[in-house]
Amino acid sequence: MFTLKKIRINNLKLINMKTLKLVVVVALILATSIKANAQLTGRQIVEKAYNLPTGDDQTSILTMTLINKSGQTRVRKIQQYTKDFGNMEKSIMFFLSPADVKNTSFMNWSYDSDKADDQWIYLPALKRVKRISSDSKSDYFMGSDFTYDDLGDRKLDADVHKLLREETINGKDCYVVESISKDEDYMYSKTITWIRKDNFVGMKKEFYDEDGELLKILTIKKVEKIDGFWIRMHSEMNNVQKNHKTSIVLTNIKVNTGVSTSKFTERMMMRGI
């Protein structure tokens, strides 16, 4: 004979069994997930960070502020466009200020293969587009603390990546990955990158000089999801040896607006925005 209490007990058992099964399944999923992430190698983490989707095209205004050790500032403003062409990415920059570089433009074609980037510059005073060497990646961009290499896309297998540890910065759990270039002549002896575990967005990067001394620290100060894509809105590079820094702020960001392929041509370099 079934009593109400028995029914309740049985129901309770049933619920408990269901709950238990659910807990086990969730735990298994979590465990699998944690195990999967825990098993990620340094290379896999960096690969996920490099392969974060950025959209088919992107437009923004980049404001670069150079701050010297006495706090004086110099500001450069650039309108930039980027478009993914499948096996290559094209980007073009139009310099808006300061006055002496206004109407200068710079175009870069980077390739998924090992082919070196193609780069051109248009100087309005010279009235012609000139091909320049992409070999000068260790040059600092417009006197800032960012080298051309810092700003460009680095090839995944140009470095050997090693997961050092996990850390929390600004309340976000991060992988800490060390990357050492396979090229002995590379300008940095190593870099250490803090990559968020939840979305693989880089949050911080340390650059070490050829003597192994800390040279620069890149800090991502603001990241936002725009149209479904993670965008670093504000970053700051601090040269700790020379005590000067550069901040980069992106505004007017637009993603997947269908930037025309004709934007990335000699015609547009000379015409301007």
């Binding site: 006055a99 005073a125 060497s133 070999d135 600092y140 301007g272």
Partner: protein
């Protein structure tokens, strides 16, 4: 389109004109950029000022989706009283889907070479201060209609110039003027040196260029005028009565400078190999008149074809940007009575280093006359006091044989300063 303004009244009119233009362009929301510059140079041979020049460069631009307009007046004040107004460019642009049209006075730059002019022959040169001005100021604008038709990454450019503009030479009172030497008195008749503007006398240029991931190249052709006039020399004879019997003797030269048609075809390329930029440029000039000592030659001239070519590389060593070029001119079907050499070789060298976060720039540029055994050495240091204000200290050092194109200016070697404000 250069005006020398001599009287105080005209100077005031010019300044008031600029002021009202400024008010007008502000009302019309023109984009205004430019620079003010003071430039002083002193020859270290005798301490004389080689140049005292104040410059105001103004760019007024207005651009819409389909049209654009630009006017670029430049005002030069030499010493304290010689004011020159030069409308360097004034043109309108029309943008279409696959082509652009530019009409008006414009500077057009072709080729891949730096500081030498092989296929870059559309805009003539202003050599009134030899090769010393900045490269954007050394070219003069031409009144032209330019059509650019775009196919992917390549461009077909066609240019029609209704009125010929010659190379501008130094005035006779300029330190850059070289007095020609003749064994007997010479008279010049400049009446034939003008080219009457007409359809028949217009110049045509065509270029096909492409920018690809492997190589950039240009192929060009031009039906033009020689920017430099040929000197038609008529010998004048008298009787030498000292000798017996009296014999004819050369008593004078009548020289008639005259421009002639020139047909040019050429090309250039630029590519990168392992971080090094390789550049090349060559042109074939058909029908150039050269001076000759051949007594049977009409007007002491002979017509020949010649080749002009350059090979150059750009590379970096330890953040120093280096560039070198070898330039050669070769006269075909040469004979020994010609005054020019069959081969004439020049080289250029550039080293540039930026430091202090690109506020201090060190540069050394040189022309080296391999045939003439002379050189122009141009070191300079530029400091950007801030983003709009720069100070430059430089030297123009002419060395070598006095007969050479650079060595002839030995006495003009100078140090100079330029202070520039960009806005």
């Amino acid at each position: 389109m250069e005006f020398k303004i001599k009287t105080m009244r005209n100077k005031i009119i010019l300044l008031v004109g600029i002021l009202f233009t400024g008010i007008y362009v502000k009302a019309q929301k023109f984009d205004v950029t430019g620079f003010a510059r003071t430039y002083e140079g002193v020859t270290y041979n005798n301490g004389d000022f080689a140049i005292i020049q104040q410059t105001l460069n103004l760019n007024f631009e207005k651009r819409g989706e389909r049209v654009a307009f630009k006017v670029n007046p430049m005002v030069y004040l030499y010493n304290t009283d010689s004011l020159n107004l030069n409308i360097r460019e004034v043109y309108m642009d029309m943008y279409f889907k696959n082509f652009d049209l530019r009409v008006g006075k414009q500077q057009i730059v072709w080729g891949k070479a730096d500081g030498v002019f092989i296929t870059d022959i559309v805009s003539p040169l202003n050599l009134s201060e030899f090769l010393l001005p900045d490269f954007d100021e050394i070219r003069t604008g031409v009144i032209a209609t330019k059509l650019d038709y775009y196919i992917g990454n390549s461009t077909i450019e066609a240019i029609w110039i209704p009125q010929f503009t010659p190379t501008i030479r130094p005035d006779a009172n300029s330190i850059w003027y070289i007095q020609p030497e003749f064994p007997v008195p010479a008279t010049f008749d400049w009446s034939q040196s003008e080219i009457n503007p007409s359809l028949e006398n217009s110049e045509l240029f065509l270029k096909w260029s492409a920018m690809t991931s492997k190589v950039d190249f240009e192929l060009m052709g031009g039906y033009t005028w020689d920017d430099n006039p040929a000197m038609h020399v008529q010998k004048q004879f008298g009787l030498d009565t000292i000798t017996m019997p009296p014999s004819p003797m050369l008593t004078g030269l009548a020289i008639t400078p005259e421009h002639h048609r020139l047909t040019v075809a050429g090309g250039s390329f630029s590519t990168e190999v392992k971080g090094v930029i390789f550049r090349g440029e060559a042109a074939y000039y058909n029908g150039k008149y050269f001076q000759t000592e051949d007594p049977t030659a009409e007007d002491a001239l002979v017509q020949k074809d010649y080749l002009n070519y350059v090979a150059g590389i750009d590379f970096n060593i330890a953040n120093v940007k280096l560039s070198a070029q070898f330039i050669q001119k070769y006269i075909l079907d040469y004979n020994d009575m010609m005054l020019d050499d069959e081969f004439h070789s020049t080289a250029t060298f550039l080293a540039r280093y930026d430091m202090m976060r690109e506020t201090l720039h060190l540069e050394l540029f040189s022309y080296i006359g391999l045939s003439d055994k002379d050189a122009l050495i141009r070191p300079k240091v530029t400091y950007d006091f801030d983003d709009s204000f720069s100070m430059l200290l430089g030297g123009n050092i002419f060395v070598g044989e006095r007969e050479g194109q650079f060595g002839q200016y030995q006495d003009n070697s100078m140090i100079y300063t330029k202070i520039k404000y960009n806005f």
